[in-house]
């Protein structure tokens, strides 16, 4: 896993050395194979639909190829990144990484405290070797230059050993240790985090309770008692669109929030700027329209009243939805679609041509019978199962208008935007971020740091001898030696 394994071999005899090198090399091979396997194992998850990201597509896959899908599912192919084999690979990889990095970290600390090696007898064979006649104060000037350049020194009688560039190995170890920190961050997030979403229509207030959510998932070691207290009231939602291409330019949700301490604040949520309450962040995820309707029975009693969120189907926010009136007898359902800017297309029928409310229209067919709400089977709020119902009427309404049918009436009061809030709590993400930044710094140090030794020896006759040894980048050492020598000679 860690580079330059062989360069750090302590002197432990030829056979010990061979054994040491062999063991390191094989563990390195294993780590490398695991690393490549991890890359390959990630591939199926990008080609097959994944349950956490796209459950609808997985369902479709099961419908299209039921036999094949069952086998893929058994192999964890629809949730690759949580599958046992994917986990096995990265856990093994991290064990191999820890097994490699920890001993090296101790070794590195030890060797950082140790003095540089004693000046060798023969400097001629080393790199950038040069000899010249000094003036007697060469060692002092050399020491001063080396200290200024933050070399670590071993002062000996008539010579100095200097060493620098541990940053390379430090960076290397930091990089690998930081990867462990990222993994810790990911685990903390998945164990103690939560994620939920809720739709609120303009004028409504969201209170952070488990029951307020349309859907909510907790980490394995947490539950609804961990939800912190805050509330968000949607005052206004503004979508801005390019008038030529209809592309959305900006979504802004103007909200009033109350935090744990009861402080009330007016804030704006945008796509790239979520709200923060402690470790929870609130994102603006989607938006659409909620028609407000009132349904009355034949003698004028209100059987249903309220905002019904409709689900957008295209970029011009043609939306579908259903209005279910279980209170009526027999039960009534409105299979509806809503068009913010209505237009009649000769081929496609009723369409919306712009996402803003320029000519809003609610289209519906009225069904009478059993809504099937008591069967226990979960139903989509946007759809009605009309198998045991009969259609009794078909019409469309503009806001403020009513329509009477056999058995009652429906009034389309007004329409307001809704937003989908996504609430995410990830207590591990700061670990991952710090891990990521440290990994990057470590990587830079390990790739661009260079370790080298410099020696200077002065004998009784005033003959000065210098040489160096670079573990990487010999050219840079040559340049450094030139500067070193000119510093000794007192040249500027």
């Amino acid at each position: 896993m860690v580079s330059q394994m062989q360069t750090e071999v302590p002197e432990i005899g030829a056979s010990g050395l061979a054994r040491f090198a062999w063991r390191q090399l094989t563990s390195m091979r294993t780590a490398l194979i695991l690393l490549m396997m991890l890359g390959l194992a990630a591939i199926p998850g990008s080609l097959l639909p994944q349950r956490p990201q796209n459950p609808m597509a997985v369902r479709q896959y099961f419908l299209d190829q039921p036999g094949f899908a069952r086998w893929i599912d058994r192999a964890g192919g629809f949730d690759v990144y949580a599958s046992s084999w994917f986990s096995a690979i990265y856990i093994l990889l991290f064990i191999s990484l820890i097994g490699c990095v920890l001993p090296r970290t101790f070794e590195h600390f030890k060797s950082m405290r140790a003095l540089p090696p004693v000046t060798p007898k023969n400097l001629e064979k080393l790199e950038a070797h040069s000899v010249f006649i000094g003036d007697g104060n060469d060692l002092e000037r050399a020491e001063k230059w080396l200290r200024k350049n933050r070399f670590r020194l071993r002062i000996q009688d008539g010579s100095i050993s200097a060493e620098k560039g541990y940053v390379r190995e430090s960076g290397n170890l930091l990089f690998h240790l930081s990867l462990i920190l990222i993994l810790i961050g990911v685990s903390v997030g998945s164990l103690f985090g939560m994620k939920g979403s809720a739709i609120i229509t303009t004028g409504e207030r969201f209170i952070n309770l488990a029951t307020s959510y349309d859907s909510i998932d907790y980490g394995k070691l947490t539950n609804e008692t961990s939800l912190n207290t805050f509330s968000i009231k949607l005052n206004k939602f503004v979508g801005t669109y390019d008038p030529i291409t209809n592309i959305p330019l900006d979504y802004s949700a103007f909200v009033t929030t109350i935090d744990e301490l009861g402080n009330e604040r007016d804030q704006v949520i945008k796509v790239n700027s979520p709200l923060t309450f402690g470790t929870s962040r609130i994102y603006l995820q989607a938006n659409g329209y909620s028609p407000f309707v009132t349904v009355r029975d034949e003698i004028g009693n209100v059987t249903f009243q309220g905002a019904v969120p409709f689900l957008p189907q295209d970029t011009n926010l043609r939306s579908i939805g259903s209005i279910k009136v279980p209170e009526a007898s027999p039960q009534i359902g409105f299979v509806s679609s809503f068009l913010p800017t209505y237009e009649r297309d000769p081929e496609m029928g009723a369409i919306s041509v712009y996402p803003l409310l320029l000519e809003p229209k609610l289209l519906f067919s009225i069904w009478e019978g059993d809504l099937g709400l008591d069967t226990g089977i979960p139903q989509s709020i946007y759809k009605i199962d009309t198998t045991s119902m009969t259609r009794i009427a078909l019409d469309s309404l503009a806001p403020g208008k009513s329509y009477s049918f056999k058995g009652g009436s429906i009034t389309f009061e007004k329409v307001e935007p809704w937003i989908n809030l996504q609430v995410v709590r990830d207590p591990g993400k700061s670990y991952s971020l710090i891990g990521g930044i440290l990994a990057l710094l470590g990587l830079l140090a390990s790739l661009f740091g260079r370790r080298r030794r410099i020696w200077i020896k002065v004998d009784a006759s005033g003959r000065v001898e210098v040489a160096g040894l670079a573990k990487t980048n010999a050219a840079a050492l040559e340049e450094e030696m030139v500067r070193f020598v000119s510093a000794i000679k007192g040249e500027k």
Binding site: M1, V2, S3, Q4, M5, Q6, L25, M28, R29, A31, L32, L35, M36, L38, G39, A42, I43, G45, S46, P49, Q50, P52, Q53, N54, A57, V80, Y81, V186, K195, D242, T245, I247, P248, L249, D250, Y251, K270, V271, N272, S273, P274, R281, Y283, Q285, Q422, V424, D426, K429, S432, L433, G436, I437, A439, L440, L443, L444, L447
Partner: protein, 298 residues
Amino acid sequence: MQTTWAYISNNFIYSAMGVFALSFFAHAFETAWAVKVPAEGTDSRKMDYSKADKAARIATALMLLAFILLFVGVIARGLSNGHVPWGNMYEFSITGALAFTGAYLVALRKYDLRWLGLFISLAALLTLGTAITLLYRDSAPLVPALKSTWLVIHVIAAIISGGVFLLSNVIAGAYLYLDSRERAGGRPAWATRLPALDVLDQLSYRLVAFVFPLWTFSVIAGAIWAESAWGRYWGWDPKETWAFITWVAYAAYLHARVTVGWKGRRAAWLCLFAGSTFLFNYVYVNVWGTGKHTYSGL
């Protein structure tokens, strides 16, 4: 105003394509003139290559001109819609071609890579040709999710990394080709003046080692942005997955080289594999993929 800048941009892109084509021909002439097979017994170093040298200088000058034209084209595209020109695949492609030729021109200052110019000009030409014919979209504003400073940071790091990865791939490819020819008896005449195999091997590695931290940075910047835009910093979106695969492949490549001591053919194949994961991410995930990185058609 919008359409004027877009119009100007298109004209500059077309001009850049024209000049890339000229540069390609100049490189072709250079290669042709440089392919003087020395007669038996004569020293190839004593032959007159001045014509080839002149062609090489013209070709490089044309490449630089094309780069400048392309640069203006990319800037004008940005001005046409008031944001950095990375809103869709057409804009990525023209910026990618810019980064690729830029990486080549920068590397040229340090190494004599003019022999590569033939491939580079052709690759730039093909990229721009594909972009303007198949991928072209009218200049449009950014969707809200893309409105972030991170767009600039994340995408510029990714594009530069991509340009350098691909350059390193071209060199690794050249290595494999020349190596197989040398094994089969010798280089073809036109390739005799290309650098020695070990120089190519080192160069391809150096480029990767240099740009790997930048790619790492691009992934981290993407994660930070994803946290603020989508509510999670990592979600195994296809683009993220393939960025991860590319990262792992290059990490394996660096380890194989530095630690296990891989060199030559094996290293070059691994380099090509890693680079192809980057290309796959760019082409497959943008065109056929689903997920959060698909915007505005392409």
